[in-house]
């Protein structure tokens, strides 16, 4: 009854006819037909000095016009040789035999050169490489350390990584993904160091993507993730080349996507999301302190408001007497229960946070300040929220920003709401149930089929030196065991 029917519709017939056409031998007419109704596509006819006609076909915005004049048109005009392809001063000329191939070259910034005498089509790669200059990372800002960040140009991004790891064993495999976008994907890894399983899993996952558009690395990550329905990112997205180089050196794989400044590193664990590039720049004691602070802040941002709700709803006996006086005083005039009071304040905060992100930079900052202070103050005066809650919500909001990974900050908000609901029903017990569910969920997650809670569960004792604290680099003699690298030692000479 539900058998899949073979599609014999009109769409299929057209597709078949297109395929047939595209594999047929190439003609100028066929090319003209391909680019009809494309105003940005140009067909230019010129003659060489010995009166041979040649036709240039290209899409104007995709090519470097100055280079076309300099490397193709002018040399051809002056050309006196028999074969016109001999006159062009570019490193590579590709011979094209089918229409499909010609279209592909055309849309990737190639200039098609039709030799009317020999009836042969050539393609010359003269793509327009202009793009954004290398700038400082805005998402992962650090005070000290490298300031460059990836751009939308994949070649430039590869260069930035290769400059940091000048090894021939740093391999890069190319894939084209997306039936419509034909997005270039590069899988990078250090051969002989990275576990071959990770490479083959990543390769398999990229090859299995069957989708029309891949416009961003996060979109690619969505197709490569082991767990689609989790709130937690299973790939580390970074726009910092030093982070990528560090990840590659540790034994991870890096995936670059064309037209995206964000690169994916995998496999990652939950704890990687709390590591900042600055950890390895600061003194180890300071870096360790900051890292512990980040974990604490994460827990604070998750639990402070639910604890307030749990205590004020179910467990007044847990609050010390001096604090209880303050709490009773502030809550006595409020019409809402602690749960509704907290929920409304958290939702308001989220609205302000989201609005300030979407506004232009200066307006956004102003909105954040005004929204935070005015709304907070007004809601206290209006009797909708207690001062204690405003303080708690404020602290938990600030604490949530300490986590270097923005994606986890967003997940954090949702988890906070879930724990809040549990706290309102089951008090402190509900909070712990929420935490257990969170741990259980994280424990079952995987990134490139590697456990997400490694090196805690499964347990890798040596990796703890760079987990909750950042131990001295001298002591980190081995690469993370959880990544199963083929080269265990970081030192080239064993000590």
């Amino acid at each position: 009854m539900f058998k899949k029917r073979k599609n014999t519709g009109i769409g299929n017939k057209i597709e078949n006819s297109i395929t047939k056409t595209k594999n047929t031998p190439i003609t100028l007419e066929g090319l003209r037909k391909s680019i009809e109704k494309m105003d940005d596509a140009k067909i230019i006819e010129h003659q060489t000095q010995n009166s041979k006609l040649f036709v240039l076909i290209y899409v104007e915005p995709l090519i470097d016009q100055a280079r076309v004049n300099e490397a193709v048109i002018e040399p051809l005009r002056r050309c006196t040789k028999e074969k016109i392809s001999d006159c062009i001063s570019v490193s590579e000329i590709i011979d094209i035999s089918t229409l499909k191939e010609a279209e592909k070259q055309l849309m990737r910034g190639g200039v098609l050169l039709f030799d009317t005498i020999e009836n042969q089509l050539h393609a010359v790669d003269l793509k327009n490489t202009t793009g954004r200059a290398i700038e400082t990372s805005e998402t992962e800002t650090i005070l000290y350390g490298a300031k460059d960040s990836f751009t939308e140009n994949i070649e430039q991004n590869i260069t930035m990584i290769r400059r940091r790891i000048p090894l021939t064993s740093l391999k890069s495999e190319k894939f084209m993904v997306g039936s419509q976008t034909e997005t270039k994907i590069i899988l990078m890894y250090i051969e002989g160091l990275t576990n071959p399983d990770f490479i083959s899993i990543a390769r398999e996952k990229i090859e299995n993507i069957d989708y029309d558009q891949i416009l961003d690395s996060s979109q690619l990550a969505a197709f490569m993730e082991d767990h689609t329905h989790s709130m937690f990112p299973q790939f580390q997205q970074t726009d910092r080349p030093d982070v990528c180089a560090f990840a590659l050196g540790a034994g991870k794989v890096t995936i670059l996507v064309d037209n995206t400044p964000f690169v994916l590193n995998a496999p990652i664990s939950f704890f990687h999301l709390f590591q900042s590039p600055e950890d390895y720049i600061n003194r180890w004691i300071v870096a360790s302190f900051l890292r512990v602070l980040r974990y604490l802040s994460f827990m604070l941002s998750l639990l402070m408001v639910p604890i307030y709700v749990a205590l004020t709803t179910h467990h007044y006996q847990m609050i010390p007497l001096q604090i209880l006086y303050v709490l009773v005083d502030t809550r006595s005039r409020l019409p809402l229960t602690p749960f509704w009071e907290s929920l409304l304040m958290l939702l308001t905060l989220e609205v302000i946070k989201e609005a300030s992100l979407r506004m232009p930079t200066k307006s956004g900052q102003m909105l954040g300040v005004i929204g935070g202070i005015v709304v907070g103050q007004a809601s206290v005066e209006a009797g909708f929220a207690s001062q204690v809650l405003i303080v708690i919500v404020g602290i938990s909001a600030i604490a949530s920003f300490l986590v270097p990974n923005y994606l986890i900050t967003k997940a954090n908000t949702l988890i906070q709401f879930i724990i809040l609901i549990l706290a309102s029903f089951l008090g402190i017990m509900g909070i712990f149930m929420g935490i257990i569910l969170l741990f259980v969920h994280l424990n079952a997650l995987t990134s490139l089929r590697q456990p997400y809670l490694a090196p805690v569960a499964p347990f890798y004792g040596k990796d703890w030196l760079d987990l909750f604290i950042r131990g001295p680099l001298r002591w980190m003699k081995t690469r993370p065991e959880a990544l199963h690298p083929l080269q265990k030692w970081r030192y080239s000479r064993r000590r």
């Binding site: 467990h315 010390p320 089951l426 017990m429 569960a457 499964p458």
Partner: protein
């Protein structure tokens, strides 16, 4: 995820997990009520002696782990004992596992009611705990075993909180006297049985052998777990003796929790409520493991061990466990005053399984000439 199986053996876990599992399974409900059954200071020696007895069981269990049958799981048991016998044993095991789940869950729920929610209908708490365990178990056996690390890290440190009670100015060495028993009553024998039953649990690990690197110094890792438990038992018992004294200890239902009630913090009063909630992590881990074993045993009993596991089947098992817990709670646990029949049964059942299962497996291996 079509190929997902609850009992997938995708990874071979390090033997350190055995250490953690032995320890955490021995630190469940009984440890909370342990001092009530021991009372007298000379029971310190009994804890140590029974600890050695427990070590004997662990030694026998390690023989099983090192045998060729262990890593084969169900097939290994079937090869050694025959399929029919395995099915009969699985059927008996169903009852024993259910009894264990019942006692530890109802015991913990009773504690939460006593200390955190006096007016709460405990059936709700049972439901919530089982829902969490269902979620844990449904993710598979391997992640559930891995969860022991979190359970251990979240709860093992609690013992350290009691260090303070050992060095109170009011404590004297006389609180630990008499260290030699003047009379040995039936209650003292019951204490011995209780400790042995409290230490039971590792015998169920034989069912999890396929998930471990079984041949790598398993005895050493199990011994560490057992030794750590004995140390914890001793420490907790001595702390409660110092704090309450043997005469007052008799009167208290949950001495360990009562001790924690006296802890102070500038931020929270009643730290015991937080600690009890923390301890839920350990219970969730243990109950999830036992429910998974219950599911496995029912599949063997129903001759379905070769079929693919299903999440609905597991959910059905969880529902059965919930119904049993609900009935036991209403009929036996809530009604129990001085004599809790389920607790008495578990004391006997735990002690018997801990001595009989290792012995039975060892003799079976001997008979086959594989030791």
């Amino acid at each position: 995820m079509s190929g997902f199986s609850i009992f997938d053996k995708t990874s071979s876990l390090h033997s350190i997990y055995v250490t953690l599992m032995v320890n955490r399974i021995q630190m469940l409900y009984f440890v909370i009520i342990l001092p009530v059954f021991l009372i007298y200071p000379y029971m310190i020696w009994v804890i140590i002696l029974v600890g050695f007895l427990s070590q004997m069981s662990i030694f026998l269990l390690s023989k099983w782990f090192n045998s060729i049958y262990a890593s084969k799981g169900y097939e290994g048991f079937a090869e050694l004992l025959g399929e029919r016998s395995v099915r009969v044993l699985a059927f008996i095991g169903l009852g024993l596992i259910l009894l264990k789940i019942t006692v530890i869950t109802l015991g913990y729920v009773e504690i939460t009611q006593h200390f955190i929610f006096p007016s709460l209908n405990t059936n709700w708490m049972i439901l919530f705990i089982l829902l969490i365990c269902w979620y844990v178990g449904s993710l598979g056996m391997a992640p559930t075993i891995r969860f022991v690390v979190i359970a251990f890290l979240s709860t093992a440190w609690m013992v350290l909180l009691l260090v303070n009670f050992l060095f109170q100015p009011s404590n004297t060495i006389h609180d630990l006297f008499p260290l030699v028993p003047f009379d040995w009553t039936i209650e003292s024998w019951k204490g011995v049985l209780f400790i042995f039953s409290a230490l039971s649990g590792p015998e169920y690990l034989v069912l999890l052998a396929p998930w471990f690197n079984t041949r790598k110094k398993i005895l050493k890792y199990m011994t560490i777990g057992n030794a750590f438990t004995i140390f914890e038992y001793l420490f907790l018992f001595i702390a409660s003796l110092f704090f309450f004294g043997p005469h007052y200890l008799k009167e208290i239902r949950f001495p360990m929790m009562e001790v924690m009630r006296y802890m102070e913090s500038p931020v929270f009063e009643r730290i015991d409520m937080i600690l009890i909630s923390f301890y839920l992590i350990n219970f969730v881990f243990a109950i999830s493991i036992f429910i998974l074993l219950f599911y496995g045993a029912s599949r063997i009993t129903l001759k379905k061990s070769k079929e693919q596991t299903t999440k609905s089947g597991f959910a059905f098992c969880c529902s059965i466990v919930f119904i049993c817990l609900f009935i036991n709670n209403e009929l036996f646990w809530k009604e129990a005053t001085n004599q809790n029949i389920l607790l008495e049964l578990e004391i006997w059942a735990g002690a018997l399984t801990y001595i009989l299962i290792p012995l039975f497996l060892f003799t079976s291996l001997k008979r086959k000439g594989r030791v």
